[in-house]
């Protein structure tokens, strides 16, 4: 079980919650379960979500594993110059 924190814009799709609890071992599984449980997150996931695992930001690279007890934070996909 991991507590997954949501950034502001994602919260309405989880009924306003700032975090949700999900059982997932990889980013792939995390997104699949989020889609199942919170269908309104779909457009955000399609647009691209970055996942911060213990402060290190990963793009939605599915193979990335989520270590037990890690801090997981979802962030919008960002662009640079």
């Amino acid at each position: 079980m991991a507590e997954v924190f949501l950034w502001g814009a994602l919260r309405p799709s989880a009924g306003g919650a700032a975090s949700v609890t999900i059982e997932a071992k990889s980013i792939r599984e995390l997104f699949r379960k989020l889609e199942e449980q919170f269908p309104r997150m779909q457009p955000f996931i399609d647009e691209g979500i970055s996942v911060s695992i213990d402060g290190v930001i990963y793009q939605d690279d599915w193979s990335q594993t989520l270590p037990e007890g890690s801090e997981i934070y979802l962030l919008p996909r960002i662009a640079g110059g």
């Binding site: 924190f5 950034w7 502001g8 814009a9 309405p12 700032a18 911060s52 213990d54 402060g55 290190v56 930001i57 990963y58 793009q59 690279d61 990335q64 801090e71 934070y73 962030l75 919008p76 960002i78 662009a79 640079g80 110059g81």
Partner: protein, 759 residues
């Protein structure tokens, strides 16, 4: 890759040295080829017709006269592109920006294009195109665009990120929110609270090389594109989709790039050139004029930021709150979102809330500019911190140190930080001799901090070992300022061979897998990670070859100092790369290492800048007299080019802070589309820019490398604002702090000084 090859505190031989860059000679002798320096046989000259109006619907376009002009080979309008708005809205908007469909949204928006045998004929043809417009009400100002009676720019735009979803169209395309804690509670604990509005004007990246490309499309669906870009793989993808071409059949070659800073991450004229070429069945060269660059490419957001910060008397920030409104041009973007994420990122706050609003206006589509959106937010936050420090009688550096984020701090945008460098840059600033240097009359000193994320992303590299033992590294990320030197150093380090035995080249889109742009400070970070992996694959192979040569098991071979060594009891002399390569034909063919990765874990970056300015009270004109940049670079691969990034970003920030702005008239037309009136800093405007590189290794990179390119543009607006305020006693809240704005502020201040105490 991050997890398998954690950072080790290794001693470097090549990395960290300062050799001459491999592409340097071509650039000092005039041989290097940039976007406009390339020709194809039989090429035509392309030109684009642009809207003189800020907002209008296109009733009709008559191109028949232009088409009939002798020497004109093709004329195109939006009709020559398939309507993709139903299948891919995001790409459709990019295409609509390249060629207006039903409406023009800004002064300079492309409406038609011609290709002709020479420039003279093309110019004449443009004049023969007749466009009938119906003028619409326009809005260019960020705050007017969100006001009640503002003309709605796009009827389909409903604010995203609001629950429940609004039904009425508005000029706010998206609302995003970040933060944690409870700001109301936080403000109750504060002894002093300040609330202000800050504004920054729109600036342009100002690269000296205008956009340019040469396109050639043949009737069999194959195409070639030579272009100055920060990401040829991305350009290929987007252009192919827009033109309905197979991605594999469009080969894009990147030219040398004459500056980009984010501005060359977006396409503008490339699909137009390709469409002109396809229609004419001839190559077409399209080069923007400087005026077109300003009117139709680039700029950053204009912003208006409402901010409120509370502190206790002993300097602890109890709450920070901001609403950030950023223009995004006629289409939505995520610029305010980036501002909202970065605004308070330097500090450890118990209670913080930021809201970003993306605002549509009749200005060119906003584009990334070096740490996009962060400088404006930092201007607001860092100006306030200085003001608050003064109010409670605390030293501004001390107050920042007290509140600085550290390892374990929850960032204002969410995640908890790993090892970060804000504290060390502040300590370095505090102890820097610059801080203690005396100031002259009318001079003031200011400082400010800045933050940027840095990115990783997809990268792909090829390493090929020549039969003489030299190495060619092919990368797919553009070299914007010395990357070939840095990557050659990394390969030299990893293989254990001299720097001058490595040649780094930028491959075209036919030679490598997909690579993301050189943006987000990712070029050296991500490509070096991939290059290291390429090297390690080749090394493994070379160890196997050595085992074959020696006829011993492969696990008895180790790699050290550029040589394969046999372990155990035998007296095989070590084999160099050249020796192994010489026998490649017999041991399995060419030696190579191909790697593709998603380079994650770029590692955030922080900077602290110190600056001294002198303000002329008569004219309001401001000179920067001393400037110091202190930034965390992770391991600095080529320190001279790291310094160059620090200095260049600071200079751009100084220009933005003091002079650079888009000026629109009542008619919504840009009034200063040229370097004469949009004045970037010249040599005589600036002092030497001192730098101090801090090397706080990035634990996610095998060499500890972080991105370094962008953070340096973040602090200058606020550092200069604070310096001006310390010189004059007036708080500046509007960037650029041009002479008229400073004079105005000085006058208002002297009028009000009887009632209000000075800052």
């Amino acid at each position: 890759m991050g997890k398998e090859t954690p950072f080790t505190k290794r001693e470097f031989k090549s990395v960290g040295t300062r050799p001459v860059r491999p592409d340097g000679i071509d650039k000092v002798t005039g041989r290097a080829r940039y976007g406009a320096d390339f020709d194809m046989p039989g090429q035509l000259v392309g030109l684009i017709l642009r809207s003189p109006h800020a907002h209008a619907s296109i009733k009709s376009i008559d191109t028949s006269k232009a088409e009939a002009l002798p020497g004109v080979k093709s004329v195109i309008t939006s009709k020559d592109f398939k309507d993709i708005s139903k299948t891919d809205t995001e790409l459709a908007e990019i295409l609509e920006n390249c060629m207006a469909r039903k409406k023009v949204y800004y002064d300079g928006h492309a409406v038609a294009a011609v290709a002709a045998v020479d420039a003279k004929t093309a110019r004449a043809a443009l004049k023969l195109i007749n466009v009938e417009y119906k003028l619409l009400k326009h809005v260019t100002d960020v705050d007017l665009a969100v006001a009640n009676k503002a003309p709605v720019i796009n009827r389909n735009c409903k604010t995203a990120g609001v629950d429940p979803a609004p039904t009425k169209a508005s000029n706010i395309s998206r609302r995003s929110e970040f933060g944690h804690g409870d700001v109301d509670k936080g403000f109750k604990k504060a002894d002093v609270i300040i609330e202000r509005n800050f504004r920054t004007e729109q600036s342009h990246q100002g690269y000296i090389e205008p956009h340019a490309c040469v396109a050639s499309v043949s009737p069999d669906g194959n195409g070639e594109l030579w272009v100055c870009t920060q990401g040829h793989f991305v350009f290929r993808q987007q252009c192919a989709q827009m033109l309905g071409m197979d991605v594999a059949k469009l080969r894009v070659t990147s030219s040398e790039i004459g500056g980009g800073f984010g501005g060359k991450t977006h396409i503008w004229l490339e699909p137009v050139a390709l469409a002109l070429s396809r229609k004419a069945n001839r190559p077409v060269k399209l080069v923007m004029t400087r005026e077109e660059v300003f009117r139709a490419s680039g700029p950053t957001s204009a912003t208006s930021i409402d901010i409120k910060i509370g502190v206790t008397n002993d300097g602890i920030i109890t709450a920070g709150e901001a609403e950030l409104r950023y223009t995004s041009g006629p289409w939505g973007g995520s610029w305010a979102m980036l501002g909202a994420m970065t605004a308070f990122a330097c500090y450890e706050l118990e209670n913080v809330k930021t809201v970003g609003l993306e605002v549509l206006v009749n200005r060119p589509k906003t584009t990334a500019y070096r740490a996009p959106s962060a400088p404006m937010a930092a201007f607001a936050v860092e100006s306030m911190i200085d003001e608050l420090a003064k109010k409670i009688g605390m030293d501004a550096v001390e107050m920042r140190i007290k509140n600085a984020a550290k390892e374990g701090t929850q960032s204002s945008y969410g995640p908890v930080y790993g090892p970060i460098g804000i504290g060390p840059t502040l300590e370095a600033a505090k102890n820097h001799p610059h801080m203690k240097a005396p100031l002259g009359e009318n001079q003031g000193r200011g400082m400010a901090c800045g933050f940027w994320f840095n990115f990783g992303g997809q990268s792909c590299t090829n390493l090929n070992i020549g039969i003489d033992g030299t190495a060619t590294l092919t990368v797919g990320t553009i070299d914007v300022g010395g990357a070939r030197a840095s990557l050659s150093l990394v390969v030299a380090e990893e293989l254990g061979i001299p720097y001058d035995k490595v040649k780094a080249v930028i491959g075209d889109t036919g030679s490598l897998g997909y690579n993301e742009m050189t943006d987000g400070s990712r070029g050296t970070f991500a490509s070096s990670m991939s290059a290291i992996k390429s090297c390690r694959i080749a090394i493994e192979d070379m160890c196997a070859r050595a085992a074959q040569i020696w006829d011993i098991p492969v696990d008895k071979v180790i790699w050290q100092d550029g040589h394969a060594h046999a372990t155990g009891k035998n007296n095989n002399a070590p084999l160099s790369i050249a020796e192994i390569a010489a026998t490649a034909e017999k041991t399995g063919g060419p030696i190579a290492g191909h790697a593709q990765i998603v380079a994650d874990g770029a590692g955030v970056s922080f900077a602290t800048h110190i600056c001294d300015v002198e303000v002329d009270p008569e004219t309001g004109s401001t000179r920067v007299v001393r400037y110091t940049v202190i930034q965390d670079a992770g391991k600095a691969v080529h320190p001279t080019y790291v310094e160059g990034q620090f200095q260049g970003g600071a200079a751009q920030g100084i220009g933005w802070a003091l002079n650079e702005e888009y000026i629109y008239g009542e008619d919504g037309r840009l009034q200063n589309p040229g370097f004469l009136d949009y004045r970037i800093p010249v040599c005589s405007d600036l002092p030497m820019i001192d730098t101090q590189i801090l090397e706080i290794p990035n634990p996610n990179h095998p060499y500890g490398i972080r991105g370094v390119g962008e953070t340096s543009i973040v602090p200058p607006l606020a550092a200069i604002g604070n310096a001006v305020s310390n010189a004059t006693g007036v708080r500046m809240t509007h960037v650029p702090m041009s002479p008229p704005r400073i004079l105005d502020a000085l006058e208002k201040h002297s009028e009000a000084s009887d009632e209000e105490p000075a800052l």
